[in-house]
Symmetry: C2
Subunit: 425 residues, 2 copies
């Protein structure tokens, strides 16, 4: 890890620069696979499953029996944990339900918004050695609360053609309708265009490798909405001398173990604290099963000593971290000044892993500085707000003359006429 002491503001941008992540080189490869899925549907999906996931499938849809059977394959302990997490995610996202207000902007002119669920959504859950059942909950629970009518889930099968039972169990608990054993580009294509087996959806959510992300970007240009652009995961910790160096080290390492391209940043005004954290990191690293990955991530990572809280806040807002943990005595004072971040963890007993799994907040968050403009996934992500307006005869009398003047000045005379005819009546 790099220790940086009192950097000049002019150096901040280069210190905070993220690992480069340019997927444009993949566009033509990924585009070609998407085209095949679009034109040949299921047949192409089966072929790519054989080629990329090394498995010859006989069906894409996971049967009801297979989903039911997952229940007995998951430990009681994990089932209870998943249920607890689900309840917290449900409680928090349920509190985000939009309440419509009717507003009379001018006498006789009433406007309102209505939040309506996106009818069909697709959730992508990556494969790999460990099953990401937590992401199933983070996407399916709010989709269900929003009222999405069709929730499609795709996840790559193992060599045995099966999806991990913990993923199936989480999907069943969350109420997912349709599960398909499809991974990678072919899964994104299937949900974007629809195939004989897989319904076309209107919005695709979920993480993935560079191929999946490139596919999501390409389909988002015309065919379907996506949750947000993606990049490597990252955490920033703000700590002072009241923080426990062991806790902070553990928090930094939980981000570092995500992937070799993860980025981890500590900002503090205490030089002693940096030394203490470094020592703790060394100790904890020894015990970590994913030590190699974490060590690679730490090469991109920085322990930064700054002059005061004002510098810390400015650097935070410039970095716009996906996760921000504030382990200081005055955490609320700092939190109030944060304007760019995905999810913020407050105080000494709020590790990032709480939000990753079970506090109730969503763990699908803007990386790569996108927190300057994007929210993390929340209930809004699964609805769109339709506006309505109702104008009475009195209302058009009040509003009409202004519309006529504006339409005339924009040289749109049919617009004007639509009002004039009503005023004349």
């Amino acid at each position: 890890m790099q220790i940086i002491k009192y950097p000049e503001r002019s150096e901040w941008a280069s210190i905070l620069s993220r690992p480069v992540f340019d997927t444009s080189a993949l566009n033509s490869t990924v585009g070609a696979v998407l085209d095949e899925i679009k034109t040949r549907g299921d047949k192409a999906v089966f072929e790519y499953e054989e080629r990329f996931d090394k498995v010859k499938l006989s069906s894409l849809a996971v049967s009801r029996e297979e989903i039911e059977a997952s229940v007995s394959l998951v430990s009681e302990e994990l089932k209870a944990a998943i249920r607890l997490a689900k309840e917290n995610i449900k409680t928090f996202h349920h509190s985000q339900i939009f309440e419509s207000k009717k507003i009379e902007t001018t006498q006789g002119v009433t406007c309102w918004q209505k939040a309506v669920a996106i009818e069909k959504v697709g959730l992508y859950i990556p494969g790999g050695t460990a099953p990401l059942f937590s992401t199933v909950l983070m996407l399916a629970v709010p989709a269900k609360i929003a009222g999405c009518k069709e929730i499609v889930l795709c996840s790559p099968p193992g060599k045995d053609g099966k999806i991990h039972p913990a993923i199936l169990f989480a999907a069943k608990e969350a109420g997912v309708d349709k599960i398909f054993r499809i991974g990678g580009i072919q899964a994104i294509g299937a949900m974007a265009y629809g195939t004989q087996s897989v319904p076309k959806v209107y919005k695709i959510f979920g993480p993935g490798n560079q191929y999946v992300m490139t596919a999501k970007q390409l389909v988002s240009l015309r065919d379907v909405a996506i949750d947000m652009p993606a990049g490597p995961s990252e955490v920033q910790v703000i700590a002072d001398d009241t923080a426990n160096p062991a806790f902070v080290a553990a928090d930094l390492l939980s981000q570092a173990e995500h992937g070799a391209d993860s980025q981890v940043i500590l900002t503090t005004t205490s030089e002693q604290f940096i030394a203490d954290v470094l020592q703790e990191i060394e100790q904890q690293l020894v015990e970590l099963p994913r030590r190699e990955i974490a060590e690679k991530a730490l090469l991109n990572s920085k322990l930064i000593l700054l002059k005061d809280n004002s510098e810390i806040i400015d650097m935070t807002n410039q970095y716009a971290p996906e996760h921000l943990i504030i382990e200081t005595s005055d955490y609320m004072n700092i939190a109030d000044q944060v304007i760019n971040a995905g999810s913020v963890f407050l105080g000494h007993y709020t590790p990032e892993s709480a939000g990753d799994y079970a506090s109730g907040t969503n763990h699908t968050l803007p990386t790569n500085g996108y927190a300057t403009a994007y929210s993390g996934v929340n209930l809004d992500s699964f609805v769109k707000k339709i506006t309505f307006q109702k104008i009475t005869k009195d209302g058009i009398r009040n509003l009409g003359p202004a519309i006529e003047v504006m339409a005339e000045n924009e040289e749109l005379y049919a617009h004007k006429n639509a009002v004039t005819l009503r005023l004349k009546e």
Copy 2:
């Protein structure tokens, strides 16, 4: 206009298909201009202004004096209309301010969202013969309410190097900070990357021609968020025998005059009404200054006779119109069943032009069927919601064991350790 009577459901998709709008052929041209702006900044902007807008500029920023001078160049009548529209847009968007709620999901675990303004936003206002001051209001008023600290506006200059005074006046009224006489791809590039004159922004809003849209899409892949993908404008009218054929004809024509690629659809269960509307369209068309444009748009447009309201509602939700006008006696009954639309206009005295200018709702809406997944621009478009969580010692005792189990099952042992250390303390 094409009259279609009682089409089979299997034919709906082809009947409702939109004019094709494939900008991928422009990617390399537009990409090259963007690269120039990125690497050469202002110098490239000046060159492209000369090449594309045929004007040799001496400065890009519009001076305070020029903005102030716009006041005297706009008629009192238009100023009053702009102010009235501004107040209504302000009232409606102000009512959308997000109220944060703190939720205790588990004892000792408190989560909440905070809406924070996107710090820097860019608004693009197209040029052309008529000044689109209404779009200035639609974008700048909510940006101001949201609390965006830096609002940058770009609009192409005329041959005299000036932006139309009505645009400057609307910008001044809405409180826009920085106005630049830059159009097209070079404006999008300048706001996405920043130049010596133009600040880099985090999100770009606003309509434009195919070059502008392509530029917005390209920069949205990595550099900056955008409001939404775009396509030609469209309206659907649902009418019954209680509707006034002259009103409906005027409403259809106000969409048709927007552009030759606009699409206009009437759905009704009354054959007589179709005949009456056709006759009205013929009559009104004669008087229209933009008759040629409207006639071209009508070639893409359809008058569709359906069996019953249930068919009308299904077709509406399949089409997902940008604008939907419901001119029937039971408009609320139909409106309640609409799940895909941008903005809905209810009853006989609510023309689309009211929403285009002054009712208070936003006129930047999802076209091309994107209403299945996207909202129109609203106050949310100018903020992101940051999540916060605070866990007490008691809270981590309640939640910790479940996190440990889940982290272990996802094979993320550093995640687990961040909890274990806190539980042990």
